[in-house]
Subunit: 205 residues, 2 copies
């Protein structure tokens, strides 16, 4: 029996878009239910009781079960598909870049984009402002690492597109909005074009 | 032909210990090569050229190939073992908690432990000091989520110990050193005792 997938999301979030992109590339139908994180709609008692006690989106609903964490949701959808390499080392390399994305890339690049584009620099707290320089340095370091890795290869892990490419694409391709000039990274720019040429690709809103 | 595993590590790092604990529980031989991160030994040109261009440990060396990111290394070692659930949803749930560990747990709880225990509060930069309150709040939120999740279950994902337990144990069981009083979390304390009773368990140094 086919499963029903519902994505609990804020459409501005690249973490939510990852899951939509995975579903689109795999041709899987995905319903969506939208929340405004800036209005606190994922921090209500109802949301935290029913969808995610962590108060965060995205959450992938699979029939009546709920799966938080964007990269785990992408993995669930892609199980058994070509988006997860069969080779053991390539599969671990894919996970390497997925953990890198959550630890070294998203907290710097996505957070600066969110602060500058959606919250507005004038509205940041003193604590947030104090972190901008460190996030600028960390984000640049992450982009340099990606650019170097892509200097001798077409895809992040193995020799074909995988979830590593899908989860790194969303916040990388809008890094300019966080103040990271993408034109500095020619290998990343070429890789972005390859991702966008994949059959079934859908753009971020 | 059996593979040779060498862990490039700093023994004080919980991220390195995760991999040693995984290998111990699986009965896999693991050589180690040690670096002092406080002396910058993972930021030398040689290390970045040969072991990890990211300048970070741990790195799992598998014969002549190098795999950074602690949770990816644990996955590689555990492939095909009972530490990765066979059930598709339980496997994704395991990954959910592994991504949670890297995004919401480690950057708060492990970083505060590192700052307070190894760097020393007096030696922190103004930028680091400005982050203590946010990390204290984020770490407490992560521990509350774990404690709630463990209120009705013995293990983090599925009904048996998995990598989710192994990767969350290292920095959780020493959370006191970061200023998080573990005795506040009775379900976590009971779970720590279960992890430490696993056959083959080895303690952190």
């Amino acid at each position: 029996m086919a499963e029903n997938y519902t994505l609990h999301e804020d459409p501005r979030s690249g973490n939510c878009y990852k899951i939509k992109l995975t579903a689109a590339l795999l041709g899987l139908p995905l319903e969506t239910r939208q929340y405004d994180i800036l209005k606190g709609e994922t921090r209500t008692p109802e949301f935290m009781a029913e969808v995610n006690p962590n108060g965060r989106i995205p959450v992938l609903q699979i029939n009546d079960r709920f799966l938080p964490e964007s990269n785990a949701a992408c993995w669930y959808l892609a199980e058994g598909s070509a988006l997860i390499p069969e080779d053991r080392f390539a599969r671990a390399e894919m996970l390497r870049w997925m953990f890198f994305e959550q630890y070294s890339h998203e907290p710097n690049i996505a957070t600066l984009r969110f602060w500058l584009q959606f919250v507005g620099e004038a509205n940041l707290s003193a604590q947030q402002k104090a972190q901008i320089m460190a996030k600028r340095a960390g984000g640049a370091e992450a982009l340099e690492l990606l650019d170097g890795h892509l200097s001798a290869r077409e895809w992040m892990a193995g020799d074909a597109p995988s979830l590593a490419d899908i989860v790194l694409y969303p916040y990388t391709h809008v890094a300019d909005a966080g103040g990271f000039p993408l034109s500095d990274y020619t290998n990343i720019c070429a890789w972005i074009a390859r991702v966008e040429a994949l059959p079934g690709f859908v753009p971020m809103q």
